[in-house]
């Protein structure tokens, strides 16, 4: 049964040969086709729906997971989950728009990592004996004794809870629910409310907030929301926000703090509304974010993290009253911010490392969290090192003439026909192009290189004007036209300029330098890396091969590259669901070694070498070198 079977993917028209019994998603991966999947192929997220147009009779019967996620209509029209369906006959598979990565644009979700449910918040229902002349124990002791006897728990009262205790006990006829955070009793609620116990996890990103309402009885996510970070008007990047705070003083810091809290409160309200609960039923909140976000959210004086040697104020995980921060939740709810590692590697990195289990791994893992600041971690259970580089916002479309965020009308995928030098592109929501977003920028850089329109230095090859009129002198110097004005919705030609390419080169060089120098310092080579995880909101949409072709990261074989999504959110959820994970986070923050990239003696040389596409030393990129040679487009 080792025969190979042909699978064709539509609408791409791509085909591949795979061994019988391979899942559809693995076949797609082989072709580099992105099918949404968040659960890592366990069939629990239901994101990878595909329509099998022929060969359905060769598939395994619908699995239990598929029955959970597919509607009757979908089953009747031959929809399957790509991670569950295994192919044994030649098949044609249609990947519908919804399952193509690139539809949900404010990416909030990351891989799900199962953890043993051990929340700090626990509820206990107690039916207490009424006080009599023979049993006149205090209200407090009555509860503490019952807790001990019935649940084996000892605890102590938050003083504020004791104030109204006599009324609650008597009005509820001595049937109450005790809410505990650790050993502290944070609420006494009338009746039995044990089935309603919620927490809220937040990834505080510099540009985006992602919130997850979690049922603490089950550990499951009730719903998810996203918001842009309301701090953006104070500065696009963390450094501008810190500058705003330190020039404006405590009032300015408080403004920033209130802004982010208001965004979080909106998310809480939206989640509660959707989930049919009151915000008072949220008893704990967990936060992950970079170190600057930690400072600006907790209201810690942020100046010194912006000045060399960039020390953080607090490394440890922080517990504080949610109400003091102005968060909309139970009055006695705890707010926990995960520990950070250093000034430029925050709780989001701790969460990343936790989610991909780097410190437990026998294999050597590289994790790149792509953003305005890109963090790179490499290691295994022996040692993990991390560094951070100022990659800048170029790949988010900033400083790029027709650059834009990933929104409707953004060119998100683009290719150049190697013979005609004509262009194919796809835009978000299939609308007429307005501009180009990060994933499109990576594509176009790779495609220009592969078609010999730019050389390895990133410079336009002027002789190519003989072959394509898209390459021309524009108002801002040399440019390559991506969409003619009759195609666009802006009535102007959309082009990528030489200056744009320079900005992108600087950004990609920063990221590559972060990878390269860290690999040197931890003493591994490309070959030693068993897995490369791409994290971050932007990561999921990029073409891993094109990103490698232009040298964002070292040449690592495609099957080792995996997208893990917003792992900062994953880590925050893990810590919300389990106190063990919080201890583990503490361990990560202490064990992981921070490496200051900009202070490395090789930094400048490596950065300059990495400006080249993919690298000044092409022998580090044998696959790309071979590809360019084969295409006859290697321009030195």
């Amino acid at each position: 049964m080792s025969s190979e079977i042909e699978v064709v993917f539509q609408p791409y028209g791509k085909r591949t040969l795979i061994p019988s019994g391979t899942t559809i998603i693995d076949a797609a991966k082989k072709l580099g086709i992105d099918i949404s999947s968040l659960c890592g192929g366990r069939g629990t997220c239901g994101k990878c729906k595909v329509k099998v147009q022929s060969g359905i009779e060769g598939l395994n019967p619908l699995t239990e997971q598929e029955l959970n996620h597919l509607s009757k209509d979908e089953i009747e029209t031959n929809f399957r989950l790509a991670c569950q369906a295994r192919v044994t006959l030649p098949s044609i598979v249609l990947v519908p728009e919804i399952s193509r990565i690139g539809k949900q644009r404010l990416q909030t979700e990351g891989i799900e990592v199962p953890v043993e449910l051990k929340p700090l918040v626990k509820k206990y229902f107690l039916k207490l004996p009424k006080p009599t002349l023979h049993d006149a124990r205090s209200d407090e002791d009555r509860i503490l004794d019952a807790l001990k006897d019935e649940h084996g728990r000892s605890g102590f009262f938050d003083f504020d809870v004791a104030r109204s205790l006599p009324i609650v006990l008597r009005e509820s006829d001595w049937a109450v629910t005790t809410v505990m955070w650790g050993d502290k009793i944070i609420a006494i609620e009338p009746g039995d409310t044990t089935d309603r116990c919620f927490g809220f996890a937040v990834d505080i990103g510099t540009t985006k907030l992602a919130g997850f309402l979690v049922d603490l009885n089950k550990g499951s996510v009730v719903n998810v929301v996203a918001r842009t970070n309301p701090q953006i008007p104070f500065g696009e990047d963390v450094m501008s926000r810190i500058a705003f705070a330190i020039t404006g003083g405590w009032n300015a810091l408080s403004e920033l703090q209130k802004a982010v809290v208001s965004g979080i409160n909106e998310m809480i309200e939206e989640c509660c509304k959707k989930g049919g609960l009151k915000y008072e039923e949220i008893y704990e909140l967990c936060f992950a974010g970079n170190t600057c976000m930690q400072l600006l959210f907790l209201g810690l004086w942020p100046r010194h993290v912006a000045f060399s040697p960039y020390p953080p104020v607090l490394r440890r995980g922080v517990d504080t009253d949610a109400s003091k921060l102005g968060l909309r939740s139970h009055i006695n709810a705890n707010a926990h911010f995960l520990p950070v590692i250093g000034g430029f590697v925050g709780a989001d990195s701790v969460a990343d490392i936790m989610a991909v289990k780097m410190l437990e791994s026998n294999e050597t893992i590289m994790d790149i969290d792509i953003g305005t600041n890109t963090e790179i971690a490499i290691g295994n259970k022996e040692l993990v090192m991390i560094d951070s580089c100022a990659s800048g916002p170029a790949f988010e479309g900033m400083e790029i003439k027709f650059g834009m965020r990933a929104a409707t009308g953004a060119i998100e995928k683009i290719s150049i026909d190697s013979k005609t030098l004509e262009i194919n592109y796809r835009t978000i929501d299939d609308k007429a192009p307005v501009g180009i977003c990060g994933s499109g920028l990576i594509d176009i850089l790779a495609e220009l290189l592969k078609s010999g329109i730019i050389d390895v230095k990133g410079t336009f090859v002027k002789e190519m004007t003989k072959q394509t009129n898209r390459l021309r002198q524009g108002p801002d110097g040399w440019e390559f036209v991506l969409a003619w004005k009759n195609e666009t919705s802006t009535n102007t030609d959309i082009a990528i300029t030489q200056a744009d390419i320079r900005e992108l080169q600087k950004a990609k060089a920063a990221m590559h330098t972060g990878c390269e120098i860290l690999m040197k310092r931890i003493n591994v080579t490309e070959k030693d890396i068993d897995k490369l995880y791409i994290a971050g909101a932007f990561g999921n949409y990029i073409d891993p091969e094109n990103a490698r072709t232009i040298g964002i990261y070292p040449e690592i074989s495609i099957e080792k590259i995996h997208f893990v999504g917003n792992t900062a959110g994953t880590g925050a959820r893990m810590c919300l669901a389990s106190k063990d994970m919080r201890e583990y986070a503490e361990e990560i923050s202490k064990k992981v070694k921070y490496f200051e990239l900009a202070a490395d003696p090789d930094f400048q040389t490596e950065y300059i070498n990495s400006i080249y596409l993919p690298h000044v030393n092409l022998n580090k990129y044998p696959i790309t070198k071979g590809l360019l040679q084969r295409l006859g487009s290697l321009r030195l």
């Binding site: 500065g235 990047d237 450094m239 501008s240 810190i242 500058a243 330190i246 020039t247 100046r303 912006a306 000045f307 060399s308 100022a390 800048g392 230095k457 990133g458 410079t459 110097g477 040399w478 030489q498 200056a499 320079r502 080169q505 600087k506 900009a598 202070a599 400048q604 950065y607 300059i608 070498n609 400006i611 080249y612 000044v616």
Partner: protein, 247 residues
């Protein structure tokens, strides 16, 4: 006629070697630059001429190509390295007074910031243009800029930073210059990733250079204005005693 012919030959030999110097810099070829510099000396080219019409000319071309977006950072840095390789041969042969005659610039990345690639490029371009550059490196304490400017009798302090918060360090230098009554006597130019002309206005710096090429042309203007102001001051000081007598 015979005599004339030899002179012509010598002329072309000198021109050839200058061309070679220019090309070595443009190509960013360190070995060639060093070799050409030695050849220049052997061919009897004045060291000063070899620097100006060879190495500096090369850097000028590189700068033009950068402006035209034809060259990028690697070419700039390689050209700079080639220029330094040539300078290592030629500078020791230069009569003392010629070095630094054009003006002196104190250069550094401001306190709190350690990103110095941009600064290194500016250094190469300024050096190529014949200025004496005192490079203080990165994360330079505020007072160090001022102290060294006084010691070196520099006309210009050039500061750079990539990060936004460290822009404040620029402001601190400006404030200290003012407090010490040096504003105007020493002019300042700033640049770097987070710097803009509007920030220059806010910090009270005298000039902003968007890249190394612009930095060079602005430094030239700053030095001229400082020298002119110094001359004026000298003139007015010579006139002062007379006025005092009159009152």
């Amino acid at each position: 006629m015979e005599h004339r012919h030899v002179e012509d030959e010598m002329m072309t030999a000198k021109e050839e070697v200058l061309k070679k110097l220019v090309q070595a810099v443009v190509d960013g070829n360190l070995e060639l630059a060093e070799e050409a510099a030695r050849e220049a000396v052997n061919a009897g080219v004045e060291p000063y001429k070899a620097i100006i019409d060879g190495l500096s000319k090369g850097m000028e071309i590189v700068g033009e190509k950068y402006d035209a977006k034809e060259f990028f950072l690697p070419e700039l840095l390689l050209a700079g390295d080639a220029m330094y390789a040539g300078l290592n041969v030629l500078l020791p042969l230069l009569p003392k007074r010629e070095a630094g005659e054009k003006g002196t610039v104190i250069l550094g990345v401001v306190e709190g910031d350690i990103h110095d690639i941009g600064k290194n490029i500016v250094k190469a371009m300024l050096t190529a243009s014949g200025y004496k550059v005192i490079d203080l490196g990165k994360d330079v304490p505020v007072d160090e800029f001022i102290k060294r400017a006084k010691e070196e009798r520099a006309q210009v302090i050039a500061m750079s930073t990539l990060m936004t918060p460290t822009l404040l360090s620029i402001q601190t230098v400006e404030e200290k210059l003012k407090a010490e009554g040096l504003k105007g006597k020493v002019k300042t130019i700033i640049g770097g990733g987070s710097v803009s002309d509007s920030w220059r206005e806010r910090a009270g710096s005298d000039a902003y250079g968007k890249d190394a090429m612009e930095a060079v042309s602005k430094v030239k203007l700053l030095i001229e204005s400082v020298k002119a102001a110094a001359l004026q001051l000298k003139d007015s000081e010579e006139q002062k005693p007379k006025k005092e007598k009159g009152t």
